[in-house]
Symmetry: D2
Subunit: 307 residues, 4 copies
């Protein structure tokens, strides 16, 4: 099951489960996958930045990949983040996960790239390296330090057929989305565009033409329901659902701290047995936990009122 041009909906970014002592919690993976599939997501993305991929050894990354693919069992496509700076490690992991049944890989630009030409040369080399493996272009300047103008993204998509999707996570990024969709009207090859940033601009992004979200908010059903309402033409309903969750979305979107919030909420919800991050990682204070409890209680009331 490889990424196809009609990919859309929610590709949830899955965290990597650890135990309190930092050991990999592989036996948490089936329950986590079940949790996501029960929310009817269209796909999973694993070993991304929010998946603490850089803290795993290569052997552990493969263990995670196999465990996720086994649990998913072909029900939805699974995309895997691969290392961005070293071609050998990128190629090795990409080959291994594709062999094991992945739908594609996600490739961020290494932070050392400067200038449009350098970005284009890099992705041409990546595409050559990966052969026919479909790859997701990750545009996340605040995380990678690399800004890709819309013209550069267009060039990558138009010249590299294996670029199968855009993970859109620039900030601000709405006008970039509009630019790309307008470019398609003028002949740019169409690829699915899924958006990130924890869903913080999801209804706006859908109105600009996004095909869905690839991000990791702890309530994937928010993204599912916003997208469904939008697709049904009910932009007010989409915004109503979104607004109910927005205080928590915002709280979960804090850089550095957000993953700790997300894992805590996922643990509260039963998707994980332990919220720990592997070191080095942020830890929630008592005040943080009180904030989250306050926001979750308010969310329940808002959802009840929303019907």
């Amino acid at each position: 099951m490889r990424l196809t041009p009609d990919a859309a909906g929610v590709y949830v970014i899955a965290p990597t489960p650890f135990r309190e002592d930092g050991a990999l919690a592989l036996d948490d993976i089936p329950r986590m996958v079940d949790f996501f599939l029960a929310r009817e997501v269209q796909g999973l993305t694993v070993l991304g930045m929010m998946g603490e991929a850089s803290k795993l050894t290569e052997a552990e990354a493969l263990q995670v990949a196999h465990a996720v693919l086994e649990a998913v069992n072909g029900q939805v496509p699974v995309v895997f983040g691969v290392p961005s700076s070293g071609f050998a490690a990128m190629q090795a992991l990409a080959a291994a996960v594709m062999d094991a049944g992945a739908a594609g890989v996600m490739v961020a630009p290494p932070g050392t790239l400067r200038g449009d030409a350098a970005v284009l040369r890099h992705y041409a080399a990546v595409a050559e390296l990966l052969g026919d493996t479909p790859f997701v272009l990750q545009d996340y300047p605040q995380g990678t330090g690399v800004t890709m103008a819309p013209e550069v993204i267009r060039r990558i998509i138009d010249t590299l057929p294996s670029c199968a999707m855009l993970k859109h996570e620039d900030w601000p990024g709405l006008d970039k989305l509009s630019w790309l969709r307008a470019a398609e009207a003028e002949g740019m090859r169409r690829v699915p565009i899924l958006t990130g940033n924890g869903g913080l601009f999801l209804p706006d992004e859908l109105r600009r033409g996004a095909d869905g979200a690839m991000t990791g908010f702890a309530f994937p059903e928010m993204m599912r329901d916003v997208i469904r309402a939008h697709q049904a033409g009910d932009v007010e309903r989409a915004a109503d659902v979104f607004d109910a969750y927005l205080p928590l979305v915002r709280y979960e979107q804090q850089p550095g701290l957000g993953l700790a919030v997300r894992k805590h909420v996922l643990t509260e919800r039963g998707a994980l047995s332990c919220a720990a991050q592997r070191r080095p990682g942020a830890r929630l204070t008592r005040d943080d936990l009180a904030d989250i409890a306050f926001l979750l209680a308010r969310l329940q009331r808002r959802l009840a009122a929303l019907g």
Copy 2:
């Protein structure tokens, strides 16, 4: 009227009004000041980053300062941002605005500072340079590139008596707030802490002990009403008011684009006669304007339902 240790509430960050052709719109200043005073703000902050201060000549900055102080006419304290990198320009502007009746100046760290010791040396030199002028310490790492650990902020406050306020704008910053308030319980000198980030975490910040907000959301009454509800002990009401505005707060908080949104909304509300930024500056697209109209319409309905 100088900054005092009991400063609190809303210090609204005022934009600088321009005409469509980029000329300074000094005659817009009285109406803008009236607009803010009518929302019962406790103070104004002028010539900050969102005030396009770096685009003004020195003569223009002085014109703006005099026009604002004249319009405010002593009703509330006014803080002025001063240049951070050049001591001569900092001292010249600080002296001029204090002579004209300013309450204090706001000083951001220059982006070249690296390491705690360098930050401490810099602010010691700033305090010596400014003499008895009260200064606001601006902690805004995502804008300045300089991270100040809570221990460093404590040292600045404890060793420099003219440091009269902390403008707190780290992100994430809630635990920094808690740390500083806890340090006061252990003997750190207490200064008012007003928070930034367009109000995106205002109710949370108040629960952590913030004294108010110094930021520039186009509906200052949101900040006023959230603070009032919080001070009245009604944290749910504070959150209710906040949540109503949050979709717009979020939209206005987009880096690079946010000021264009804010000036547009302020113009719609009659606070400015023209939303233009001086070049170089962002411009709203038709899609952006449609987003804002959508959000404003929803806000009106939410406020009506809120009562």
Copy 3:
């Protein structure tokens, strides 16, 4: 005397003289200018980054400009650095110095630019703003944070006729130089390329086709003599002269500290009456001074041996 397409040789970057207390030392300017003219430089560049321009008020910058132009008295062209981030201040200073007899202005990209298209848009706006004032494009990524690929530089030169010179200061930059000279062979408009980095690669840059140096080493005669030997076809002699000075060039090229070294040596040589930088600025330690004395003594012996 405006910048012309045949500009070449040494455009020495002049420091701004201060007194020990940080006051502007305008009366040092004639002796400094005489010192440079006696070394037969082809031009001067004033109010650049090494000129501590960001520490001057606008009035002071104009005082410096007038004093330099008066002292130079039309003997060589003078280029002035102008502020990069604010168009109003850029335009005001550019107009003032051109009125007073400047040959052109130097414009660095503001550090917020990201992506080729943003850089091109920015310089198009700059050129429109400056009208027919010749401007020097400053390519100095390690100082500005903005990387301009050779393709981008070519576009700026080919589309903006008032771009009159390239100040080349990328690092590494030799292959960029070769690329640009090769592009001229294929139709790119030719502009003079003067190189920076304190002269650290001057003979190599000349072999790649540079027209000279625009930088501020405290012995401008090194640059003059290297260029003369190179122009005479004697690349070994050019390298011999360069090598004699290289230990000091390297020492003066330390980021942050280099200007203090340069001002100290210029003061030792009688070009300035005081080596002070305006605050904030680096200060030499006793060990630094011992290093410089050691290097200067060795330089004298090397020059004597060189003949």
Copy 4:
């Protein structure tokens, strides 16, 4: 053979040999090690930034480590760079190389650390993780983005007994060296300080109290002879030797391009059979090769004249 407090001299940073097609050239390692040992270096440092460590898979890194340790065969201590951002990979590689006979590991700060307290916390966690493995503290701000003030380095050394050496590579860094040596006179624990930056400031660093160099210039005998002359009290001779090599040192010290230069020269000298870097990596142009040939020819003449 573990790092000891009297470590000194030249610890040469070894590149990782590859074939033209990017495959690991393990059979080049014995000849490379022989080349270095024949230059009488006091130690080797492997898998550092210049060793293209981030381009190796974990299995390859181990292969390199074993091959180097086998070739060195206990004649000198060998230090291995370990990954800085992920504790699991750091611990795994450190344990493996120490088991195989390494003298210690080198640990750079991850680029996300901000503020003195964060740096101190990080290294405390690293030391706890590594147990009794001696580690080299790598202070290389221009490569890592993390500035460590001298006070921070002192705190790390004084509080973490397993910190066995400082790799000093700040720029400028001479006054930091002096500060640290002065602090030792006031009770700071003494550790060996070896310097980097390709040797660009070696004689100056020795005069400030450095114990040697840990860097990778293609003529390790330059560093050996400079250190010997310095230790013999002949600072002029030390500078004479250094100055002869300085034009090439400078050329090899170009960021991004330098490793290509170094591998080319090492290949010319017979230390490697192939100068290739694994992709992505810089490639020398014909003009670069001509520069290097020019500099090497001049070096031979200088060395002949020096005697």
